[in-house]
Symmetry: C2
Subunit: 217 residues, 2 copies
């Protein structure tokens, strides 16, 4: 069984605890506020009240034996940095830390955090993109310039077949699958007719996908 430690039980840390437990892992959940810890007493494998900037406390919890520690302390940047430093010195194998801003991330990387995440910033970018493009439901970034996007078909597209639209030739993008209700048609045929409410799963350069969305829809 995989074993994890999550320090900081705010919305982000708390969500990680719940999902790891859901996926069958063992989780030690730690926070300095007893109220927060109480919320997780019946959820986490262990729920502990502790201030993780105290090195003796970290050692007494046997934290070095866990394969991965997640530091989800938010606004208190100094505590986040100090906790990360301590975990590194104790010899924890892998450390994922939530950063408040770019300065915070720079420091965390220099002191050895393995993975730095920006949940609010990254979701903000995702939501902003979702808002700007009415038809794009969600996307997965493959690289700085390429993505897989979920595009909801509108009335303009409905009734056309993939070969009619000649998407690959005109826009340089590929429809790799179509989500229709509960079904997913992978590698659809050229004669597949698009229906209203189909969700097209498209791969290509971002600029080309957006151009398709503006011109063909």
């Amino acid at each position: 069984k995989k074993e994890f430690v999550v320090i900081g039980l705010g919305r982000f840390g708390g969500s990680i605890v719940r999902e790891l437990i859901e996926q069958g892992a063992d989780v030690m959940a730690i926070d300095k506020f007893a109220d927060r810890v109480d919320e997780f007493a019946s959820i986490a494998t262990q729920a502990i009240v502790a201030d993780t900037t105290d090195e003796s406390v970290l050692k007494s919890l046997g934290i070095r034996n866990f394969e991965h520690v997640i530091v989800a302390i938010g606004e208190d940047i100094q505590s986040s940095i100090l906790t990360t430093l301590m975990l590194k010195e104790i010899g924890v194998n892998k450390i994922t830390v939530k950063a408040q801003n770019d300065y915070h991330e720079k420091v965390l990387r220099k002191i050895g955090a393995d993975q730095v995440v920006h949940p609010e910033r990254d979701m903000g970018i995702r939501i902003a993109n979702n808002i700007m493009t009415n038809n794009v439901l969600d996307y997965l970034e493959l690289s700085d310039e390429h993505s897989i996007m979920e595009i909801k078909a509108n009335e303009i597209l409905a009734g056309s077949t993939l070969i009619d639209l000649d998407i690959r030739a005109k826009y340089g993008i590929n429809i790799v699958a179509i989500k229709r209700g509960a079904d997913i048609l992978v590698s659809p045929q050229a004669d597949e007719e698009i229906q209203i409410n189909d969700v097209l799963i498209v791969i290509g350069a971002d600029a080309d996908i957006i151009r398709f969305e503006k011109k063909a829809m």
Copy 2:
């Protein structure tokens, strides 16, 4: 030019302002704290200090003329709810609101929020999944049970061709593309040989993709 209002300039709201501006939209950025507003004075189209629970203030800003308002007020659930109610009464076309928890979401939907988002909760789920499966870099949920996942090829897979692995027959999943360095090979041929560090873009039922990741890698 698309015009948006973002209320609440924390990490999430601030990120939305920056990304919308980056994408060429006009943005009115509002917060009750002058310090926060100052940060955006040179970024947003307009940066305004205001308490949005004051209906006369909202009206004087001409907010009803904007196509989409984003409410990114965090910890103060009552202000988030009151602001949303006011925006609805003023007749704003579309309202996206950040929720703190499920109770907050229920209330927001009842009072007419068009879109409710949980940035920390959803990123927590994504990070937890990323942590549990070493090889899965990122994913896009197509439905409750199907996803597109980015799987990093390890030494076990390297050297095998797609036909060797017989993935579709054995696991019921499809490799729709391979990311190799800066290149993306869409709809790879059956004789394509996987190289170390390739990122396989896979579509299928989550359970089948995880089974492939456990058994073939």
